[in-house]
């Protein structure tokens, strides 16, 4: 009897978990399998008509798609051939397919009310003014940062800030710490970003706690994520831009949090306070007042005492 109650309880605990899983199952798992059976693995098989047998080969590592990343990405609901030519269903893929047209973000998202909050048009404008676009124009597309098969929304979510920082910085570092991808765009040497930032005290901590775009993108009023990456000469180098009570972090990294939970507790910079301690930016209003009062009383006391000592001498 006892046992069955337990197993009943156990079941009850399990049920919500299970239905959630079912809801999360994306639409096109089955269809995508036709592509992912090859592109989801390090090896693939195909039937070679000429020699009439199955062949096992290694997949080009750049063409491997992690299906878990894919199904957690914003475009998880897509079938591969929504973006790629249906002719890819055949193997070997036809040679001319490599020249297929690639959709741009605006092709689908431009002027769409559903995505108004993201303001794609403004992002496009800012992107076109960024160093990446002006120095490389056509070759540098939105897809360079927004991996078509894994991009997720992070800044606009309830995730801890450190995860967003790690996620966003990984995007920049996929080139700036990786010669392979960097050299796709330029023959210039890839500067070592660790060395170019050694003026930051505890540089690893800064890279874990702030995003590259905090210092490198021009602050934007309209966008949650500023996209105008500026030349290095314009990057933020003054410490007080962050380490002060009107820290720029409130207008960038903590913008979403700052909008969501406005200083409920009556603290200065409540958003920062929960996730980080930024010297100079975290100030507690009440402690400031209390310490000013205590300090004032001490000075006052000393002054009175000193005056009395002089008078009574």
């Amino acid at each position: 009897m006892k046992r069955s109650i337990f197993s009943l309880l156990f079941l009850l605990i399990l049920i919500p978990g299970r239905t959630q899983d079912e809801q999360e199952t994306p639409d096109h798992v089955k269809e995508n399998k036709t592509c992912l059976q090859c592109h989801g693995n390090q090896y693939y098989y195909y039937y070679n008509d000429w020699v009439e047998r199955d062949i096992k080969e290694r997949m080009n590592p750049y063409y491997i798609i992690d299906s878990s990343d894919y199904y957690h990405s914003v475009h998880h609901a897509f079938y591969c051939i929504d973006c790629h030519s249906t002719e890819y269903e055949e193997f070997p893929h036809a040679g001319y397919l490599r020249m297929e047209y690639q959709y741009t973000c605006l092709d689908c998202h431009g002027g769409d009310e559903t995505y108004a909050q993201y303001n794609f048009e403004q992002i496009q404008v800012e992107f076109e003014r960024s160093v990446h676009s002006t120095r490389h124009n056509e070759a540098f597309t939105c897809w360079m940062c927004h991996d078509p098969h894994s991009y997720q929304v992070s800044a606009r979510s309830e995730r801890p800030i450190t995860e967003t920082v790690a996620y966003d910085n990984e995007i920049c570092l996929s080139c700036h710490a990786n010669v392979n991808k960097f050299k796709l765009l330029t023959d210039r040497d890839n500067p070592n970003v660790i060395e170019s930032h050694d003026w930051l005290p505890n540089q690893p901590l800064h890279f874990r706690k702030v995003r590259c775009i905090e210092c490198h993108a021009k602050l934007s009023d309209t966008l949650l994520v500023a996209h105008e990456i500026q030349p290095k000469s314009q990057a933020v180098k003054k410490c007080v831009e962050c380490h002060s009570s009107n820290s720029l972090l409130l207008a960038s990294l903590y913008k979403y949090q700052a909008q969501e939970k406005r200083s409920k507790a009556g603290f200065f910079n409540a958003a920062i306070m929960n996730e980080a301690y930024v010297i100079g930016a975290n100030r507690n209003y009440y402690l400031n007042v209390i310490s000013a009062i205590i300090f004032g009383l001490v000075i006052f006391g000393i002054a009175i005492h000193a005056i009395l000592r002089i008078i009574k001498k």
Binding site: W199, V240, H243, A276, L287, F295, I302, H305, A306
Partner: protein, 206 residues
Amino acid sequence: MGVKIYLYPFWLRIWHWVNAILIILLIITGISMQYSNPEYPLIRFDIAVTIHNLSGILLTASYMFFLIFNLGGPNRKYYRLQIKGLGNRLMKQFRYYISGIFKGEKAPFPISEKRKFNPLQKLTYVLTMYIGIPLILITGWALLFPEVIIHNFLGASGLYLTALFHVMIGFFLSIFLFIHIYFATIGKTAASNFRAMINGWHEAHD
């Protein structure tokens, strides 16, 4: 000519002034960082950080020096707190400071070779040197290596609590410093205690 007692040995005077300089540097740079303001920078932020970190490291060394000499020598006895009757003695000294001193009364605990500090002095020195300084050094080192700090303490950021604690002790030590310097002027003359901390000889009241 009043009586002079040799109370402050050479090592103590060296330590004391090194310590005083470091603490003052730490307080000024600390305030500059805590209330950093792009428009009115007291000290440029990165310079303040560097000075603060360096002074903190030197202060650790100087504190070790103090501990070794103070615990390992005769100066130790002056820091021994007798709990019994402490409240009464503190009250007595306190009353002297707020009224007796103005009426020209004699100090209730005159300074001698056996008793370098009056009860109030002793208590504040013990609190400062054996509790305040160690705590601010430990929290300071933790902030220098934030990866050692527990991330989450009862739902609040461990880093934030550590930093808050560090700043609060710093505040109390600054208050101590003001009171300390002021009370140092209560000697035979206003300057005599300062002279004592330089040449070692305390000038007693006659």
